[in-house]
């Protein structure tokens, strides 16, 4: 254990916070409070919890539709994320985006994106703007291994390396793109070799080990800022639940899921802290109670939230209210 106690505890707390929040979302979805599509992050918490501390407030984050954990880890309040899930106007996207489109521009969190690979060009663009305005900061772009099959991935990797743009490509390889295993969609499943074909600095890391993720992310961001080049980081991880609520998960065996659960990022890290005498059961229980309280408050905040009046339907389509003219 190379981490000081409080930063280790912070990593653990962040992962537990994400886990309990996602479990509450599953419960509220089956109760019909959350509708539409819901993609949970349970199992992959170490990636978001590990990468975010390696970014500064000035860096930017572009994520995917499985972005609750990233939003919470980046600092978007549990209240505003849950309210957004309910579609209330107190939500972080004013109730317009829902689970797949969480935004908080003050935190430079540029949202979820429901199109596989759709966020990559945006991240490249943000980095291009930083480079042209001589701002030395990183744009972290999360995407799943499914996006690697999209043309946009290859176009963006090439463009970023060609123009030496400060993008951190974070590929969360959880082995399944919706219902298709990686081996059935990629000719070469060793994704980090993709980066080599664009001469891009790259590394791979165990996405279930929050300490390893944190170290790899720090290495990547410092390289980017030092050399002003893009960086590709593959994080091998696994989602414990269905792709979305709910799919029957016919594409993988229950035993495989159980095996990966033994690598649960929270359980393994908690055990490591206890082993290093940095954590005991009462402190863990206190952490759990604290998180449970935060999640309960988020649910109450969302329940108490209000519906945006229908009269404002066309607000925020354009900056100036020419939308009314279009519809008239």
């Amino acid at each position: 254990m190379s981490l000081p106690r409080d930063s280790a505890i912070a990593l653990l707390r962040q992962m537990i916070r994400i886990r309990r929040f996602e479990e509450k979302c599953a419960e509220l979805y089956s109760a019909g409070k959350i509708r539409g599509f819901l993609h949970l992050y349970i199992g992959e918490e170490a990636v978001a919890a590990g990468v975010m501390p390696a970014l500064t407030a000035d860096d930017a984050v572009v994520a995917t539709y499985r972005e609750h954990g990233h939003a919470l880890a980046r600092g978007v309040s549990a209240d505003s994320v849950m309210a957004e899930m309910y579609g209330k106007q107190e939500g972080c996207s004013h109730g317009h985006g829902g689970s797949m489109h969480l935004f908080d521009v003050a935190l430079r969190f540029y949202g979820g994106n429901a199109i596989v690979g759709g966020g990559l060009p945006l991240a490249v663009g943000l980095a291009l703007a930083d480079k042209m305005q001589e701002r030395n900061r990183v744009t972290a772009c999360f995407f799943g291994e499914g996006a690697v099959a999209e043309g946009e991935f290859h176009e963006c990797m090439n463009l970023a390396e060609l123009w030496k743009l400060p993008v951190l490509f974070l590929c969360e390889n959880n082995l399944y793109a919706m219902g298709t295993a990686l081996s059935r969609s990629e000719s070469d499943t060793d994704l980090v070799t993709k980066a080599a074909s664009y001469n891009m600095a790259a590394a791979t890391v165990d996405g279930m080990d929050v300490e390893a993720v944190y170290a790899a992310a720090q290495e990547a961001t410092s390289t980017i800022k030092r050399l002003s080049i893009p960086y590709f980081l593959e994080l091998r991880t696994y989602r414990f639940r269905a792709h979305s609520m709910y799919d029957p998960e016919l594409y993988r065996s229950k035993t495989e899921v159980e095996q990966w659960k033994r690598h649960c990022p929270i359980a393994t890290f908690a055990a490591r802290l206890k082993g290093a005498a940095l954590l005991d059961d009462t402190q863990l229980a206190a952490l759990e109670a604290d998180v449970t309280g935060e999640v309960a408050r988020a649910e109450a905040f969302a329940e108490a939230g209000t519906w945006e009046p229908v009269e404002q339907l066309e607000r925020d389509v354009y900056a100036r209210s020419i939308a009314a003219e279009v519809q008239r």
Partner: protein
């Protein structure tokens, strides 16, 4: 329109007017930069950006790989990041590869983020057929883009608009698509020496008339004006409306004209079914029904993939004679 004393005139082309607009924008605002395939070293596939690389350098005149989704998306991202990018997609035909970025990101981010994001990007593309480039290189898809809330869509048809729309579009916090009909680049004409930015919210009456209203935009304006000349020959006074903005449509100008003439023909190089002409016609029916002395006629491209052979392409495209014939029928004088 600049209303002060009539300035000296210069003789120039639509292409030159576009270049003047680009140079002015680049000079006035350091955040502005041009990005697209062959815009730098090659000087632009329609030579619009010739000379700009030498003047502004590779940082601000960026040749891109053939990655429409990436570089259009990057333009959108850079706009969010504080730049004022001008992205040139060689033609609307290649914009199909970037539709996801334009429709799912550019047009949607403001609303989807609850008003937090602005996307002040300008995307220019050539459009239209008539040069025997066959089906894949002759599309007129302005109607697709004019369908999407969150986008503004412009069609400069005159030298003055080619010169003046870009700067106003760049000031708009929302994404603006500018369609330049490929046959207009060589259009010659006069332009005020001190011509500058123009407004982009209204249509323009290019020719006043009282018996019938011809409504069109972009590459079809010249044909509508020629049709109006012919109609004047046999005693019919045709008014020609240049839409200039395809979204939002300047419905009031259209309705005011129809209220005067009681008859309308819409000319649109796109296909007729589910097209821009259908939208204009529907609005006239909905809000000027009792002004109509005849159904609104539409003259559009024939609903075929654009054929290569010249005679077939000319038969497929809307032509002056078809406009005149439609006008006569609408006037019960066929």
């Amino acid at each position: 329109m600049n209303l002060h004393a009539p300035a000296a005139k210069i003789r120039t082309t639509y292409r030159e007017a576009l270049r003047m607009a680009l140079r002015e924008a680049m000079q006035r605002d350091p955040r502005v930069f041009l990005m697209g395939e062959d815009v730098g070293r090659y000087g632009g596939s329609y030579a619009v950006s010739k000379g700009l690389l030498e003047e502004f350098g590779e940082e601000r005149i960026r040749d891109t790989p053939l990655s429409e989704s990436a570089f259009v998306g990057a333009g959108i991202g850079a706009a969010i990041g504080g730049m004022r990018p001008i992205v040139e997609i060689m033609t609307v035909n290649f914009s199909l590869l970037a539709l996801d970025q334009i429709v799912n990101n550019a047009a949607t981010l403001r609303h989807m983020s609850g008003g937090q994001l602005s996307v002040p990007v300008v995307i220019r593309m050539a459009t239209g057929g008539g040069r025997q480039l066959a089906a894949q290189h002759s599309h007129s898809l302005e109607g697709w883009y004019a369908h999407v809330p969150g986008l503004r869509v412009l069609a400069p048809a005159t030298l003055e608009d080619a010169r003046g729309m870009l700067w106003t579009a760049l000031q708009d916090p929302d994404p603006v698509i500018i369609f330049e009909h490929a046959l207009l680049y060589n259009l010659e004409g006069e332009l005020d020496a001190d011509a500058g930015a123009v407004e982009i919210d209204h249509a323009a009456v290019r020719r006043a008339g009282s018996d019938i209203t011809l409504i069109t935009y972009g590459g079809s304006l010249q044909k509508a004006l020629q049709a109006a000349d012919q109609l004047a020959g046999d005693g019919c006074s045709a008014e020609v409306i240049d839409l200039r903005t395809l979204r939002p449509l300047d419905t009031d100008t259209i309705l005011a004209s129809v209220a005067k003439t009681h008859r309308a023909v819409v000319i649109d190089e796109g296909w007729k079914s589910v097209g821009l002409s259908a939208e204009v016609s529907a609005r006239i029916m909905e809000r000027a029904f009792y002004e109509l002395d005849a159904p609104v006629a539409r003259i559009c491209s024939r609903e075929v993939p654009m054929p290569y052979a010249r005679h077939l392409e000319q038969a497929a495209l809307p032509q002056v004679q078809a406009i005149v014939q439609a006008a006569r029928e609408v006037l019960h004088r066929a």
